[in-house]
Subunit: 297 residues, 2 copies
């Protein structure tokens, strides 16, 4: 999948940050999921290209604005847009990225566009709602594990699920098949996010790429934090040494609970694939889910 | 035109600021223009409602994010969203408003949606580009009057023009008729913005509603500032008393030039209407343009 060259558009100060944000690369996981989902039903990349581009530009828009809100200074090893330029640039170029996502979507065939737009809007709304819940959690003391699962479903899983559903829809899959891929994506996304939380605590410092314990240092309410809180009243991480917290996570069975949740959601993701045609593309989705359980970064 | 009640949606912290921003009211000029344009061709409000809602929500989204970027603390007599809540809320709720605009648009009939989305995206891109140029002007010393006209065409006029074009398109008007209304909207928008610049200098303090000379105090590059710069080398406002600047504007013929430009664009707007059916709705558009020339606020 290629994206347009935004670096040559005017005004430069609007489009150069967009080109910069998109050039950072990343895994391009969302377009990949849309394309594989279409291939499951015999369509090719061409059929989903506008949706794949829209999903990738949208994802990078969320990263750009999230980095402003989180005051994050580094993204994929480079200064974030609001650091390299300034905050106003990050806000406005981010807004334009969201509009660009819809401009990509507008390239879809006219008969496919209305439903694709509905799915895309629902996803985008879910992502913003998830981001809001995440921000709310920082100051709330009554967050439950259920609240957390709802939050990561919005913030992470819906985008993966919708990428898959859109790919299937554009390839002519029926409602049940679309739903199966959507559900696969939700479970994949939940497993992915819990794995993220787990690696932050128990990842290999050699391969993880950043310092272990970042979430603990920030007292972030992760899957592990909330599971510990459910198992031990007055549980907290504030002012505690990393080793103590990790020891608690082992003793309270929190680490095991996270590993179990990842395995469960991976299993549920795989089960969703049973409703689909068996071919090399569903095999790819199967492998993707399995690789996830063992990933180190 | 009604808008959904966002105040009851969850999460509250995402939607309450949206409800607040939309409850401030304002003139609802953009939906009005879309509706009148549709009425010119015999359609009713119903036919354009999703587009009218999308335009109004989009307009208020731009105000919300512009206020963050300008560090503006008051909007329509009330604290701005980033003052009443905080900056992150203003960014994220603004993002969601942009998505809501597209969700309204998605309610259009399937046969009308693809072209409406193209027009809307083009407009939204023009508005962001105009806002970027406006920000660029603050630090540029080589801004010409032509640059300025291009900037306000994006920042103000395109939105009015597209509201009219969308209304006409949805009512079944042909391309030439759509173009005539678009052009009317561009000239109306340009006249409107220059009038804004003029009132900031020569408005009646009794009726203007805010202090005279705000643009001068901020050394903003307005139509008047740039015309003065074209007529007198090294012309500037920095550190100068309001009375002196206004006296210059009179002596250099800058005030007269602004009045002439408003009259010219109003005349051009009216001329565009000649290509359209003559009925009570084109009369309303004629009156709207004429009222503009004499407005005090």
């Amino acid at each position: 999948m290629t994206l347009p060259d935004y670096s040559t558009r005017e005004p430069q100060n609007l489009y150069a940050p967009i080109a910069y944000a998109l050039a950072a690369g990343g895994k391009r996981l969302r377009p990949q999921l849309a394309i594989i989902a279409a291939q499951v039903f015999g369509a090719d990349e061409e059929a989903v290209l506008p949706a794949a581009q829209a999903l990738e530009v949208f994802h990078n828009f969320t990263l750009l604005h999230d980095d402003v809100m989180d005051h994050a200074s580094v993204r994929r090893g480079r200064p974030t847009v609001h650091v390299k330029w300034n905050e106003n640039t990050a806000i406005l170029s981010g807004d334009q990225m969201l509009i660009e996502a819809y401009s990509h979507l507008a390239q879809l065939p006219a008969d496919k566009l209305p439903q694709a737009l509905v799915l895309f809007n629902k996803m985008a709304t879910g992502v913003c709602e998830g981001q809001q819940l995440d921000m709310d959690f920082e100051t709330r003391n009554d967050v439950t594990l259920d609240d957390y699962m709802r939050m990561i479903e919005g913030k992470t899983a819906i985008l993966l699920a919708t990428a898959l559903q859109l790919g299937a829809y554009l390839a002519g899959a029926d409602d049940a098949q679309q739903q199966a891929l959507f559900d696969y994506g939700i479970h994949l996304g939940l497993a992915f996010q819990i794995q993220d939380d787990l690696l932050d605590c128990f990842g290999d410092p050699e391969t993880f790429g950043k310092a272990i314990g970042g979430d603990i240092a920030e007292n972030k309410k992760t899957f592990l934090w909330l599971t510990a809180r459910e198992r031990k009243s007055n549980w907290n991480t504030i002012g505690r040494a990393l080793e103590d917290v990790l020891a608690d996570y082992e003793q309270l069975g929190v680490r095991a609970a996270a590993e179990q949740a990842i395995a469960d959601h991976t299993q549920q993701a795989l089960a969703c694939l049973d409703a689909l045609p068996h071919n090399e593309y569903t095999d790819q989705l199967r492998q993707l889910a399995q690789r996830l359980v063992g990933r180190k970064v």
